[in-house]
Symmetry: C2
Subunit: 223 residues, 2 copies
DNA sequence: CGGAAATTGTAACATATGTTACAGACCACC
DNA sequence: GGTGGTCTGTAACATATGTTACAATTTCCG
């Protein structure tokens, strides 16, 4: 059994295809085939295995109170299902996973995956790196939400840019992207920036922002 | 060197004190003493070691643009510093860590901690369980923020309670706690609940909630 | 039972943000 | 140099939420 697609998975980074093969072959794995529309995992079901999409495409969706389903995300090869919560106490699938098209999924028991980690340090490092990155991402994201005002989010964002200490930073994305990152609408962001400029907190020239009133900016962050 | 306090750490759950001792002793560790006010780690500094508070107390704080510092959280024994991002690519301390009182911190190099994981499977399991739990927590938290209206958050929360399928659930916390969980104010939550009741979506009797209009509730979640 | 403390319901008002729409500025490309 | 497309600034209006305050209700404990 060969899994060339796993070579691109962050979980197997740095391993040759043959190394991956022998690692996987050493444990009891299986490959299941799901026809379009078939359900690979049910929301709420206990997670007992690492599942990696080998081919095709699946989607995670939640069913709401009236039975309607809402699509959350697509999962394409070589992504894994719920990898970030795999080893949590009583880990359960947060979403129902359904095949978008005919798909193959590699299934490796949790215990076996653990064994692979102890056998090859790179597998361990890769998983740790993956999940720590995820935690970092979620944590950063959540921090932004903790500032309730757009000005607060923007001030915090400015402070996080390289060169903030010099009082002059360059924004690296468009207002559109920035507003999505903040979870607000574009006009609202533009208005907030305009007001901050009028209030003498910053001066804006295209994508370059200068800090004019550090105390005022800090007050926004503190809120 | 003995570390009785580690016995209560989730990272060393299930190990006897002597097992912990010998595991730690097998790698190059050190215990550093920090006087009140001393800085144990600087925000932005690269993370090279696992640091566990053995005694005393430290706090994480961020400095804002004007140099003022804002306290984020206290870290008490036997908690670890930035354990959730330890193995991320280019992991850096998100906060500056300062001693609240005279404190001792156990410092174990990242590589050495990795070695401990491969040597003892329980250490590995514990860390994985810890970080997956963290990811789960952050992810749940973030999901709530994705519903912009309070009614949406509340409907989603109701749907997540055990017994939601029966159309009758019991809320397990006070409005005060719930509002903090949602990141909104208490009167706003009360108003939202009142309106949902008036709109015929739910009926509320103390902490018991019945679902009257599943379609309407779903519409809120879908928004 | 009784009184204190926490919890909950409700109101009036201020404000931040979303929504929608449009016009000017910039940019790439022909 | 035009020309279409994206990005940005701005406006008027609707609305959700925060703020503050107080009364009603429940819970807790002596």
């Amino acid at each position: 059994m060969r899994f060339p697609v796993l070579h691109n998975s962050p979980l197997f980074r740095g391993l040759t295809e043959s190394e991956i093969e022998s690692l996987v072959a050493a444990v009891s794995f299986r490959v299941r085939f799901y026809h379009t529309g078939a359900v690979a995992a049910l929301a709420g079901e206990q997670i007992s295995s690492l599942m990696i999409v080998l081919s095709g495409s699946v989607r995670g969706e939640m069913s709401d109170l009236s039975g309607r389903t809402i699509k959350i995300e697509d999962i394409n090869p070589p992504q894994a299902l719920a990898a970030a919560v795999l080893f949590g106490d009583g880990a359960r699938y947060p979403v129902t996973v359904t095949a978008n098209s005919d798909s193959e999924i590699l299934i490796i028991n949790k215990e076996d995956y653990l064994a692979m980690m102890t056998r090859d340090r790179r597998v361990l490092s890769n998983y740790l790196s993956f999940i720590c990155g995820k935690a970092q991402f979620l944590s950063d994201r959540l921090r932004f939400h903790s500032f309730h005002t757009i000005k607060g989010k923007f001030a915090h964002y400015l402070a996080s840019l390289p060169g903030a200490a010099t009082g002059r930073v360059v924004i690296d994305r468009s207002q559109q992207e920035l507003s999505e990152y903040f979870g607000v609408t574009r006009p609202s962001l533009a208005r907030a920036i305009g007001e901050m400029e009028q209030e003498g907190l910053i001066s804006v020239d295209r994508r370059e922002v200068r800090f004019l009133n550090l105390k005022g900016l800090s007050a926004l962050i503190g809120t």
